[in-house]
Amino acid sequence: MQLSLPAAPDYPQALRYLGAPPEDAASRALLERCAAPLWQAASPRGTARAIPTGQLPAELTTGRDIRLHLGDSAQTLLFAATLGPGVDALLRRLAATDVAAAAAADALASALVEQVCDEYETALRREWERKGLYLTGRFSPGYGDYPLAAQPVLCRLLDTHRAIGLSTAPSCMLTPCKSVTALLGIGDTPRRGHRAGCATCALRTNCAYRKRGTFCDAEPTV
């Protein structure tokens, strides 16, 4: 389904992705220049489907972290969202003409896809809560020890190519690039799920956030 674009860009998040401090006016001005073309190029879509957790194919429950995340959730919500190929086209065009704008638009697009996912997730959460059921947060392939190989399986079960124009390349990467897939546990009691934390993260040894003593995630559980 078509998803709506958020009212305003998430500049603080994009600044963080760019490695610039929140008060840096020059970086902020560069991002502001990119917002209008990005909003024009983006055509966000999402799709989701619940499946009994017991029926998930083995490839979707590989690894300690995803199993902890789903916990005792009776059902699992498969989730996918994309900004569409127009954003990739914009980024290619900027890369050919203005590398600073390309980097800024890339960061802003990464922030945008998160915003879109958050809003979509909120809407889904509300829908399920009307049925008296609760969702965990999103957990995506590539977090912690959850392999990227789950990506194509998830996309096939959701038929994302047909539903929202999202597919995976043989290297498991998502195309269009600014896309997210995730699993959310569904159960009859409120639940938070498990965050991967740093212990099993592939980037643990050279993570810039860790070096600064912070985290990539707002609420880490190490």
Binding site: G19, G165, T175
Partner: protein, 786 residues
Amino acid sequence: MTLNQLFDTSRTTILDGGMGTMLQAAGLPLGVRPETLALTRPDLLESIHRNYAQAGARLLYANTFGASDHKLAGTGYTVEQLVPAAIACARRAAADTGALVALDIGPLGELLEPAGALRFEDAYAAFARTVRAGLDADVIVLETMTDLYEVKAALLACRENSDKPVLVSMTFEENGRSFTGCCVESFAAVAAGLGASAIGINCSLGPVEILPLARRLCECVPAGIPVFVKPNRGLPRADGSGYDMTAEQFAAAMEPYKELGVSMVGGCCGTDTECIRLLARRFAGFVPPARQIKPASRLCTPVRAVEIDGPAVVGERLNPTGKKRFQQALREQDMDYLLAQAVSQMDAGAQLLDVNVGLPGVDEPALMEMTVRALQAVVDLPLVLDSSDPAALERGLRVYNGKPLVNSVNGKQEVLNAILPLCKKYGAAVIGLTLDEAGIPAEAEARVAVARRIRDAALAAGIAPEDIYIDCLTLTASAQQDHVMDTLRAVEVCKRELGVRTILGVSNISFGLPCREYLNVSFLTLALARGLDLAILNPNVEPMMGAVAAWRVLSGRDAGSAAYIARYANAAPASAAQPGQISLEQAVEQGLKAEAGAAARRLLADTDPLEVVNAHLVPALDRVGQGFEKGTLFLPQLLQSAAAAQSAFEQVRVALAEQGGSPVSRGAIVLATVQGDIHDIGKNIVKVLLENYGYQVTDLGRDVAPERVAEAVRRTGAPLVGLSALMTTTLSSMRRTIQLLRQEGLPCKVVVGGAVLTPEYAAEIGADFYALDAKATADIANQLFG
């Protein structure tokens, strides 16, 4: 039913309904690939097909939608096992009713380049394999396509591996575009051009939502090609649990299609035998009216269909003739230079771009293909493929995503014989130059006679009249003043008497005379008044664009002068556009692109180009780099400075190319994002920084096979190779690339970088250096090259 009846536009043929719907109703378990049922449950497939045939369907789509080697990977079955078995199921079911059987082909499920990693040739090969496995079918159906490039790969695969007629349908959103942005008009132009036997719309939407899109399709599909629709059973419920529309409502919603002249109707997702039965009853014996076709000449890319219905501008700057900097870029395969030229013409308002890459000493066919691929990844204007070499044209035509214009044929029989069949095969429009073995005739009448011969040859080759453009050839006023008016007269007569469209290269008129712009603008205006359709000119010269915009106002085409006002209402006087006089160093440090270019031009007037680089550019960049390292300025400023330096550097390159000097080079470096990975923002940043420091960077792009890296290192002799990878799954490609470089004994160092890399892993895979960021890569290069 016979094939002739199927494609007869004066009768209505009923197509079948959804297969997935019926399989789900039969309890197909989660995760089972429907295509495997051809071998595991042939009885089930046969009964579904038979039910559709008995309901009235006269074309049965075999259950082969996902039977491609890409989608079957991991199922344990091959295309050759499943496709014939699935066709046999439909064939058995068709026996009682005489229905025809289609080999049904859906998308491969991966995104093609440039948005994805799947190469056009690999998509072609996958489709060809399915087509060859399905020769038992009566026709081929390509359906539910969302990417026009994939449609092209599939149609070529059908046409080159089978003699069966091909029905093609794409799927659109309510805004009239597919997920990849393709519009209905572009689909029609490309599918018809590539020889589709029927063109349609299926899936995504219900009959109500598809109706306006089908109307547009009916208006632009050429006469004689049937149009078909297979809508879903309305829109699905929000929770994905099915459709609310009843079978009766579905059939009733199909009623308005009768007046469009659609000649085949069926259903897609959610539709079942009841829907088809009611549809067949409603359309029994119905004779569709002729479609209301709006004849037009359209050139297109997927997202942009340019209808040539008044003067349009063809940007002329992608052409090496007389441009040393452009020639250098072609020799170095510097696609970024060409892309910058293309984008600036697009921004200036060009509607089409002429592309000529012919130069002595280059492999023109290979360069044409490379250029077309690079351009269509970045600009969405239709291209005019400009070459006299049929091999170069064919390479460009084959990989082009859209409907291009070929520049050109002429009255020579040999040329017509070589190039017109290519235009026909790939669905291109064509330009004919009014010259032949005897040269360019001076008199208008003689030029019209050549044009007439070209037109007749093009029509005989099967090219539609609206796709024929005639160039009456601008002769220079300085050399052949007497015949300037002949050119204009020829334009007028060709248009009036031959029913063709016309095109002229305008700027040639003033060759050899001062203040060329006065002559160019006047000649252009005269030609427009004679009915010129396409003007080849430099869109960055505003008075030329202004002449076209003004003519559109004066001829009444620009209603209410709206476009003119939009273009010029806020136009500042030209003299006010001068950037302030700041130094090159300041411009770079403040990241001001236009100012940096202007400052470099001023400096170059009396300073040696290398001095400009070493004494001005590099020190400024070093200061920015130090600020970045100290944390007083950040990546965005570093990049803005780099972009400013890049524009200054471009001025240095132009100066050197004009002097005929060798290009600046502190050394050659090859860069690539490794195979399987298309995240290249980091690599692009590294490239700009390295270029800023005067390195000659060969950028192989993204998703680059190890062999291509080795080949580039061999060709350039680069002592340093930079490889990037973003994902854990593509690190193995990085390892394989380094292994190959070592195996081949190439004496280069390798620097690697990317989000998931660590110094330890870099050492483990045999890299010489690990770079944390772009600045670190430049430092490594500066150390290595000294």
